[in-house]
């Protein structure tokens, strides 16, 4: 992974959309309407950037490429589920990305010195846990989509479709607290606000229901895991190697 330092640096930069959004929010004083001060909203978007950096998942693209190239067949002979391989890749890249994310945070604080804060240790640990849970949820969803490769060649277009609600509803572009009431009434039943909004609120020290959020994250993992196992076993039964 260290061989691709420039790649990973660029990848970290490509996640800066939350900062552009922050600029719109504070520059037009939009945050006053949801009772968040400038400082709190800048902390929120910085946390959203961090949560996104460490929960981003691209397993469907790797799996699609491997399955089109016929690399899946040798993986299937191995005693370990090949998704562990992708899982390890994701974790390794997250660790390499950490210094770059810190550098970006450092620049952020230079421009916004008033928003510096140090979360207490308990909150920090909890937000790391919830970021990891958010990563697990997204990894499971994408793995389920990736398994569709067994039926259709281009599963990545389904992933791009699912990415749209993730983008707009997860809180990456606007905190869920600012959503109109008719959306707020049902959004907490979906997995989306637990992907970015909940961990980011936790890390930035805004009010959130900590136990409720964490239990919803765990609930979603328990719902998605059997689904993944089912689709994986069905898919591998359906699978015929390329050229057979």
């Amino acid at each position: 992974m260290m061989e691709y330092r420039v790649e990973i640096a660029l990848w970290a930069i490509s996640g800066i959309i939350p900062f552009f959004m922050l600029n719109i929010w504070t520059n037009n004083n939009l945050n006053e309407s949801i009772n968040l001060s400038d400082v709190l909203i800048s902390r929120y978007f910085l946390s959203a950037f961090f949560v996104r950096q460490f929960s981003v998942v691209w397993v469907v693209f790797s799996f699609e490429e491997d399955s089109l190239m016929g690399k899946v067949s040798p993986y299937l002979i191995q005693p370990l589920n090949p998704f562990f391989r992708y899982f390890a890749q994701h974790l390794a890249e997250q660790i390499t990305r950490f210094p770059f994310a810190l550098i970006i945070a450092f620049f952020f604080f230079i421009f916004n010195p008033e928003s510096i804060w140090i979360p207490n240790l308990g909150i920090l640990l909890l937000s790391i846990v919830s970021t990891f849970l958010s990563f697990l949820i997204q990894f499971l969803i994408q793995s389920i989509v990736a398994c569709l490769c067994f039926w259709t060649e281009k599963a990545s277009s389904i992933e791009r479709l699912l990415f749209i609600p993730t983008l707009f509803l997860s809180g990456l572009l606007a905190p869920v607290a600012s959503f109109p009431a008719y959306v707020k009434s049902w959004i907490y039943l979906t997995p989306f606000p637990y992907l970015i909004d909940f961990p980011a609120n936790l890390l930035s020290g805004n009010d959130t229901n900590i136990s409720g959020g964490l239990s919803m994250q765990i609930l979603w993992i328990f719902l998605l895991l059997p689904l993944f196992k089912k689709i994986w076993s069905d898919g591998t039964k359906k699978y015929t190697a390329m050229g057979s």
Partner: protein, 264 residues
């Protein structure tokens, strides 16, 4: 340059790539739903911004919708032509197939930029045009000849700038081989084209007009639509587009000099 020959070749390109893309019919349907959802999402986001404010950066909600319309059209064009072709350059260079492109008795930039087409982007372009027509109605814009000519000029200039940016980054593949992530950076920067330039702070505004002219891409054509654009801005956009096109062409020719096939 023999225009007729190029037109003929382009017809063949269209035919072959449409035929291959239509093999994935469900894919096109999924892409269409993605485009519609993405537009709904952006309008939803915009409505959050406007729910307690009448104006953002001096733009009303109805006016900001024009920017969304133009962004959708440009995004459709990106998905139809730029994305499928220019990401292919990376593949050409990694696998050494760029040699075959260079050997062909046709301009390499033409071949590389227009070989493929992704038909699902057409639907997005149409979606954007529908939104623009809707905006023309709700903003009570009267159509006349000068308006049509000016908006066509500015939108084509935006397309040229966008193309040059994509082509520029893809060309750097010749040295760096992997540029997927550079393309991701460009994509995330282009994202701000969905919002009026004035809604950003002064420093970002400067950045997005001088270093990466995303400001020109959507804001100026939208101002032309509203009839509030000054003449110098339109002139500036034409100049920027010309400079970008010429530089990207020069840059490609320069990069080819450093190209030394795969494994050599």
């Amino acid at each position: 340059m023999n225009l007729r020959k190029y037109l003929k070749v382009y017809k063949k390109f269209l035919h072959t790539s449409l035929a291959s893309e239509l093999e994935y019919k469900t894919n096109i349907l999924v892409d269409l739903i993605t485009a519609i959802l993405s537009l709904i999402g952006s309008i939803f986001l915009l409505s959050i911004f406007f729910q307690n404010n009448g104006y953002i950066g001096g733009w009303k909600f109805e006016q900001a919708l024009i920017i969304q319309g133009i962004y959708t059209i440009l995004n459709g064009i990106t998905n139809t032509w730029f994305n499928p072709n220019l990401t292919e350059i990376v593949k050409h260079i990694r696998e050494g197939t760029l040699d075959f492109v260079l050997l062909k008795p046709i301009d390499s930039q033409f071949f590389i930029s227009l070989k493929k087409i992704n038909p699902s982007g057409f639907l997005e372009i149409m979606l954007g045009i529908f939104l623009l027509f809707f905006c023309i109605r709700i903003n009570q814009i009267n159509l006349n000849l000068s308006f049509l000519i000016l908006s066509l000029i500015t939108i084509s200039c935006s397309i040229f700038i966008l193309y040059s940016l994509w082509f520029f980054i893809s060309t750097t593949t010749i040295w760096f081989v992997k540029t997927w992530n550079a393309i991701e950076v460009l994509r995330s920067f282009l994202y701000i084209g969905r919002f009026p330039l004035n809604s950003f702070s002064f420093s970002l505004r400067i950045f997005f007009s001088i270093f990466i002219p995303i400001a020109f891409i959507t804001t100026i054509p939208s101002e032309v639509f509203l009839g509030i654009s000054q003449f110098w801005k339109i002139l500036l956009e034409v100049i920027v587009a010309t400079v970008f096109l010429i530089t990207s062409r020069k840059f490609w020719l320069f990069a080819l000099k450093s190209y030394s096939s795969a494994s050599s």
